[in-house]
Assembly symmetry: C2
Homo-oligomer: 335 residues x 2
Amino acid sequence: MAKKVSMKDIANRVGVSTALVSYVLNGLEKEKRVGPELVEKIRSVAKEMKYKPNQIARSLRKGSTNTVGFIVADIANPFFGQLARIIEDEAVKLGYTVIFGSSDEDYLKFGLLIDTLVNRQVDGIIIVPTEGCSEQIKSLKEENIPIVSIDRYLPGITTNHVILDNYKATNSAVKYFISKGYKNINMIAYESSLGHMQERIRGYREAMEENGLAKELFVKKVRYDHLKHDMVKIMDELMNEKKIDALLFATNAISISGLYTLMKNDIKVPDQIAVIGFDGHEVFDFYKPQISYIKQPLEDMGKEAINILVDQIKGSPKTVHIELKSQLVVRGSCG
Amino acid sequence: MAKKVSMKDIANRVGVSTALVSYVLNGLEKEKRVGPELVEKIRSVAKEMKYKPNQIARSLRKGSTNTVGFIVADIANPFFGQLARIIEDEAVKLGYTVIFGSSDEDYLKFGLLIDTLVNRQVDGIIIVPTEGCSEQIKSLKEENIPIVSIDRYLPGITTNHVILDNYKATNSAVKYFISKGYKNINMIAYESSLGHMQERIRGYREAMEENGLAKELFVKKVRYDHLKHDMVKIMDELMNEKKIDALLFATNAISISGLYTLMKNDIKVPDQIAVIGFDGHEVFDFYKPQISYIKQPLEDMGKEAINILVDQIKGSPKTVHIELKSQLVVRGSCG
DNA sequence: CTGAAAGCGCTTACAG
DNA sequence: CTGAAAGCGCTTACAG
């Protein structure tokens, strides 16, 4: 069990103080005007002894950890996995390590994750907020911990956020449907008070109303934790009660689940129902015909979020709101 | 900017030493026989002052961080995303936080991630090893940092690992093909010296040889970082040079890429080529016909890995090798 | 140019 | 039952 080597070990070996070792190993030898032969000596001894700095001790002393947290709904969901990857890469470039956590859209789990991150003294947190997490966010703000909300935001609380142009995204999609002659356009969305979902619904609603289709308005709600069950039920209703000719899915997970149900019920796309999904997914490419979708600029979203966070950590006083442009990718599924 | 409250603040307020506060807040009040009224007082003051323990200070003092690392190839890949999620959940139950990192199958990046984790004093690391990472693993072993290799292992280095029954997995798949009358069975695998890939190839080869199909042996190699390019080329060769009637994909990513190419070339499955893929994926479900695949017990794999790691951290001296059973899920794609 | 020393916020023998 | 004190491994004024 080779004991770990510390700065003290190096200092003893070279015959200097730990201060010198610290200066040299942190590249402050110019500033502190350490003698060149000592610099050389310290460097080589450190290497020879395989010195590895203890980041924990450093963090305690400096009061910052160069660590950030990223709380998603579920890291196994490719949407968040991709975002995580982008944020990871960018964070590394900026000298930060990121700790991920999955909330399952549950504000209690969300709270536990926040506590863990705070106890671990992360310098800042990127959050995908859940419903009901306002209290947690408020106390983060009280503790002056920098946060950036991504993908979503909480109505009523001001935080930095980077989100999609949610209203415009669905609004354009619906208008595209309308331009193709569809009238009975239905939207399937999450039962959620979160800002992004409300805006997506509003985008749908206003496009319908503006085009004199207010009477055809039809938003069906599914629950995050009963997605499959609710989807099956809704699809039954759609096919029986109401004649629908076009369907807009409000998120990626809803899209996939919806497509499973369409496939199982052998509903022809776009002949029986035209479809527009959310985000890209391999399934969209393999579906016959390929599914049109609202594309999100994930790369920008992730990069913006971590960069804003780091700015905040470094003391930037301004609150930043960024809204990124979506893009409608038209393929075979909408006629 | 409310300053953070420390144990000292609580101690001062209550009028006791920090030792008492520490005992009480760590549930040692019985063992240390702290007076009941003091216990009460300390608890309530801690709550009132919104005390949050500084895990960094605790870690420094205790010499352990209750943190583990998990290095995958790419967290955006759903296979690893799912694994990460399982490990995260189990780690939380065991009182650990996990730090993820993506190596991109690059041993240099792998090395940097290891260094970061070691500097952060993680108590142990779960790794998906890359080719050429042996040196890194060896030095981890020298430093006595517990490691568990998952999904793969390095031939020639003994570490704890939890892997699939790779040989049997592909062996059974090929035998299934043969039982259905296929003879010209091709396998597409990664160019890799890693144990799991070698075993999957061996499983294929021996099934062929045992059934007098040695002459039909045909393994095509693709590179991780040129997957798409190589796949297109291979598919051309397969269709032109050699008559193939069945195709076995060696990993999930290869399967997806292969299916894209089959779809683009409009090759009929299973009439022109029968197919068996690796791991589950939504795309397998949407493909017409649905793709048969070798199923991995992800849940068990993740749980075993983190539990073994924690055992090691707690001092277990034995090296553990676990091989989990795969399962062939037969659907329409193999006739 | 270099060293002695304080201190980050905890935990934990040790002493009483 | 409780307190004084050391120490984890760093960084950083301060002094010379």
